[in-house]
Amino acid sequence: MDFTINTGGQAGQGIDTIGDLISQVFVKTGFYVHVLKDFESRIRGGYNSNQIRVSDSPVYAASDKVDLIIAMTKDAIVEQRSRLTEGGVIIFDEGIEFDELESCHLSTPLEKTAKEVGGSTRMTNAAALGAALAVLQFPFKLVENALTDKFERKGKKVVASNVAVAKALYDLTTEQFSGTCSQNLSSIKKGPSKDLLFINGNRALALGAMASNLKWISAYPMSPSTQVFQDIVSQAYKLNIGTLQAEDELSAITMGLGASFAGARAFVTTSGGGFSLMVEALGLAAITETPIVIYNAQRPGPATGLPTRTEQSDLLFMAHASQGEFPRILLAPKDPVEGFEVATRAFNLADKFQVPVMILGDQYYADSMMNIPRFDVTGVSMDRGLIAADGPDPEYLRYKLTKDGVSPRAFPGDAGKTVVHSGNVHLESGHITENPDLRNAMVEKLMKKVPHILKTLNPPTIYGTKIADITLLTWGSTWGSVYEAVNLLNAEGVSINQLHFCDVYPLRTSTLKTVFKKAKKIVAVEQNATSQFARLVRMETGLGVDYHINKYDGRQMTARWVMTQLKEAGMV
């Protein structure tokens, strides 16, 4: 079983609420659910949708087919109709003027019932839920449970009204709907799986950061990153975390550096435009060896671009950002599971090597949701790296030259030590120097860290057979779609596998070199226009790929889209 529901309408019509309710019903009955959020950069109106894919086996990406459309506006029909599968159904409010009715269409009084039965058009969500689940012949009890969970906090009355509205539509639909949906879930058996988190990439990062004993976050709101900051702010009082909305990104990151300098693990979150404003401070972090973790939830650029859409187009920028030369680490989690793990690694790496660590997400990674195993935060281990021994040390040198380039940290406030940081080239003490030999020594100090970093980073993963005729090269959030494409193609008998990177910079190259040697064709699949990762690979290894697949319209690629590209190119 693998089917997709799309619920669409205007921003402000509660599309997310319907999406949440429907998702919850399926998550709670033990299905695997993947939700894609598609919305415009506006607060009300326009066309937004939630695409909910449900399956009895794990799903890792969005679909490009829809089995059930729940439309709150005409746009929501028009935009999705071409994707409707045979046997698919469209449910929409009777208020929508839409003349081309077909048997699979269900025009029904969502708003009217909400008002009449529930007393408020705000319950149109519940009505839509009732109608949808009736079409799917899903037991009503489950609808009731979902509504109870969702509205419990608002009191029994709210729950009751919502259930009543849903029931009314459920019954009405059961009675009236003449078509049959391709999906019939009347005999659903799965039990509740209490232990799955239903979560998006942003939230996974926030939890990972908090599990890593993050004690400071300063940020300036920017889609699609803002939720990470908001999630942490919402727990700040419970967990005692310093959080501050800064006046701009220049301030956000430099506050973070001050916080880190003073001893706290610090995090700043932003998107590409905000990261652009952080570039100078990135260099300050580097030369002062102040650990910092930066999250860039990428979106299509340049400049304001498409604020609520997705792209992987800041990789080379982040790998080279800021004047001068210094080590840095770039990690690009493939999904929320990896996001949590990446966050915890990021803070450890930053402290261990005293370098900036950057996490590259994107709007798809950030906003799309899936159910995954519950995180165990108590199991997260913390490595604060080299800390100077306690006690007075009048000779303490913040930038002591060591074999591996890492010097013991002390913090201002440590009794008996004076801690000196400077963004100028400095002596071991931290004070300014212009001496050429010391300049050389300090450059080499920074660069020495790279081989150690490389050893600590994870190698890429090969998905599918170790050796295949075609290897798809991927990184970050496109993993899911490509992974599914590989599986589907394997099922078709194609010899194809996937070489996927989470740890993208500095680049571990040995697996890569082996795979490049063995595969007949390497195809880079990226959600950008210029194949940035393939370019990075060539910069690092001289190895080129044979073919490029690029998507840059701001909408995440699907498995079918990837397959179509490969087929059209005659690759498979």
Partner: protein, 288 residues
């Protein structure tokens, strides 16, 4: 108590002979001694400029940051360890040009910092270009005559008051005694404290000289200025001609930023460990 010897800078001073920064450094040392807190509990944060080199010349914890960014760096450090007395050394180019936005936002947040503006009316370190605090008509390499600088100077005192700072003063490098007092008060004040310090740049600035200030500076306190009256303070802040007021313009007591954040009550963020069991509950609540 800290001794002068302990404060002896680890780095040879690179300022020009006669520079007003010497007076500020001397006052800073005296103020630090007078404060009577342990040496390791003081932190100096600076931007970039002649002025921003000051922390290298006094033996204390320090962070010499980027041009314009001293205040946010200081803010982060302060909130993570509120035990630190955090002092910002900034120039007029640094703090009122490149970093001006941070100045006002820190003021309205009432961040518990002491900001010392080494105000010389020029960008000294980049060779004397007119700075945001330069007088209209000031002639420099980037403001040739006519007409010299074609704009009015920024008024750090008026803007700090209008911005919400709770301790706003002006000092003069040539008046050590009062400058030390203002510095000590600024550090002790809980909230955003500014001391705009008149600092002759003997190399570039031929207008705002020692003589210029010696002839014009007068003490607000000696004239019995009421430092609780915001409007009066503002009025005084616009006086900059034959007479230039020096001293405390305005002071008020209001909650500082730290008091409004989720900082641990009994420890400092730098030492605090998140209760993982509580966090696990947050996670668990997310399961359906």
């Amino acid at each position: 108590m800290i001794t002068v010897e302990e404060l002896e800078g680890k780095q040879a001073i690179t300022w020009c002979t006669g520079c007003g920064n010497f007076g500020i450094l001397a006052a800073l040392k005296k103020a630090v001694i007078e404060l009577g807190v342990p040496r390791h509990e003081i932190l100096l944060v600076s931007g970039i400029g002649c002025s921003s080199k000051a922390p290298h010349y006094i033996n204390l914890n320090m962070f010499h940051t980027l041009h314009g960014r001293a205040i946010p760096v200081a803010t982060g450090a302060h909130l993570v360890n509120p035990d630190l007395k955090v002092i910002v050394n900034t120039g007029d180019g640094d703090g009122l040009g490149e970093g001006f936005s941070h100045y006002i936002h820190a003021a309205r947040r009432n961040v518990n910092l002491a900001v010392f503006i080494h105000n010389n009316g020029v960008m000294g370190l980049t060779k004397g270009q007119f700075s945001p605090a330069a007088q209209r008509g000031y002639v420099s390499n980037t403001s040739p005559p006519p007409p010299g600088a074609p704009m009015w100077p920024i008024n750090p005192v008026a803007l700090a008051i209008a911005g919400g700072a709770t301790y706003v003063a002006r000092g003069f490098s040539g008046n050590q005694k009062d400058l030390v007092t203002l510095m000590v008060e600024a550090v002790q004040h809980r909230g955003f404290a500014v001391v705009d310090i008149l600092q002759p740049c003997v190399t570039w600035n031929r207008k705002l000289t020692w003589k210029f200030y010696n002839e014009r500076a007068y003490s607000l306190q000696e004239e019995g200025h009421d430092t609780t009256n915001k409007m009066l303070a503002l009025e005084k802040s616009f006086e900059f001609g034959d007479r230039i007021p020096v001293g405390l313009f305005y002071r008020s007591e209001l909650p500082d930023l730290a008091s409004g954040l989720a900082l641990p009550k009994d420890s400092r963020l730098r030492d605090h460990e998140t209760d993982r069991a509580l966090l696990q509950q947050v996670v668990n609540d997310l399961t359906l």
